[in-house]
Amino acid sequence: MQVNSRRGDLAVAVVLLALAVFFLWGGWHMPAGTFSVPGPGIVPMILSTLLAATALALIIKELFGGARRAGVPVSFGVAPVAIVFAALTGVAVALEYAGFVATLSVFLFIMLRVFSRLGTWRAALLGVVITLAAAWFFDRLLGVSLPRGLW
């Protein structure tokens, strides 16, 4: 997918502005104290106001200041990013229930199956072998406690 760098900058700035508003709203509900004796809310409020200002400046720059600038196309690997993010999220969810070996074997299988040209059985076998080797290395050799799952 191709995204124009100007539009990308604009999108990032809008998200940051929304984030600043969220932090400002959160800070508003904290004890602010005074400028002389700041409470826990004052620093987040100052910082979120400044972040909102710089995000707004970026938006204005992209919309008006750089109006004559065409921007450059930036390629986006949406599929690999989405797959890696979803797979890691899956690991975060399943790790303590299914255990290290089962979860990471499936994770490696998905990664190898999607990104390499390995067939299903080879990817599955390699996934299990690498995970078992890693489990042995970290758990047995280094004493890093890895989750064993509910069984």
Binding site: S5, G8, D9, V12, A13, L16, L19, F23, G26, M30, P31, T34, S36, V37, P38, G39, P40, G41, V43, P44, L47, S48, L50, L51, T54, A55, A57, L58, K61, V74, S75, F76, G77, P80, V81, V84, F85, L88, T89, V91, A92, V93, L95, E96, L104, F107, L108, M111, L112, F115, S116, I130, T131, A134, L142, G143, V144, S145, L146, P147
Partner: protein, 502 residues
Amino acid sequence: MDVIHYLQQGFAVALAPSNLLYCLIGVLWGTVVGVLPGLGPLAGMALLLPLTYKLDPASAIIMLSGIFYGAMYGGSTTSILLRIPGEAASIVTCIDGYEMAKQGRAGPALVVAAVGSFIGGTVSIVGLMLFAPPLAKAMLQVGPAAEFALMLLALIVMSVISSSSTLKTLTMILLGLLLATIGLDPLSGFARYTFGSLHFADGFNFVAMALGLFGISEILLNFEQIGSLKPTIKPTLRSLVPQWTDLKASAAPIARGTVIGFLFGFVPGISHVISTFVSYAVEKKLSAHPEEFGHGAIAGVAGPETANNATTGSTLIPLLVLGIPAIPATAILLSAMMIHGVEPGPQLIAEHPQVFWGLIASMYIGNLMLLVLNLPLVGVFVNLLRIPYVYLAPVVLLICVVGIYSVTAEPLDIFVMAAFGVLGYVLRKFDFDIAPLLLSVVLGDRMEVSLRRALVISNGDYGIFLQGAFSQVFVGAIVLLALLQVAAWLIGVRKKALREGT
């Protein structure tokens, strides 16, 4: 005399067989992560963090810092032989290093890079050894007001020298500072943005953030370039024997690179990367044959490679003496030190002399190990790049998962790492510098504590930031930098107006 006495004690620590082994593991792993694109010193240290849990603090820091300076050596190998910078600080080496390799002079390029790295790295350690103790003594006098001003100065310097626009960098710094406010308020214990969850009581896990922003995002970027590996140029063993003419031609660039690198090591942000560009520009300017640059000039390899290694010692000074990491990789070292109960700062040298002096001594040994081992192992390191990235990346992701889980035993941190990975990928795509973001997260907490403590001490009088020599110097530097930035902006606006007028 004190220095020699303490250094002797340091060598007693560093020469213990177990510490020699950890130093060797550190420098070798550092070289590997330096060679492999996508695994810089930061990810390299984070991945081996679990390995250090059962070690004593001195051994752990010796191994982790070995990874840090080992990575600086490794980056040059792939730059010269493949035109792939294994590490950002080796980008400049690609220009003339690869040209030399194409002309059949890969051997001299590798030798000069290794010798320059050794000299730059070693001189830098001497600087660290001589400057850190007196600086630490002086910094004991620094109060919270001066500490706040110093950290603010560091952030402003970062915004000025960043690779992306000042506005974008400022935005990243503010975002980092804001993210640092998540968790319990350090002074009152009030929960901020935790939504009642205990998990975020200490804010985002720093290692998860760092691995996500730098490690995962790099892997995602590399997935786009699968299959674009260039042919490797293999040097012959005979060509790795140093030639007098090459060493003679490189002597002055190495000397200048050492000075440039050491000075730039103090600059927060991406000092090690900038030092290489500055060194390259200086060498080209001073050269009698500037036209050779870009076509295989040996000075274009010797200067920058020396400079990036010469930053390693001076970059550690702000970390060890002030507890302020100057670059993202040393921020991981800071985390590791805290995990091992060693708090960097002015008290470090007095409270943990075995760690500080053991580290210094191990760096001398580690640099020697790198010089001796790196050239004969060039073939092995290059062969690492033959492992297809589609196999390597999943394994690296697995190690990242283990690394994160072993720090907190909290699966949510794996999600945090993934989320920051995507954030880092998007930000890097649109030329937002992520180093200031990460460093601001590290500094944010301490900046707020210093600011509020200073105001408590002064009963709310902001004049405290102008009291005392340290505060005055730091605030003066902030004002000067701000004025210079405004002047540069005004000159730019004026030039643009003149261009449009003609």
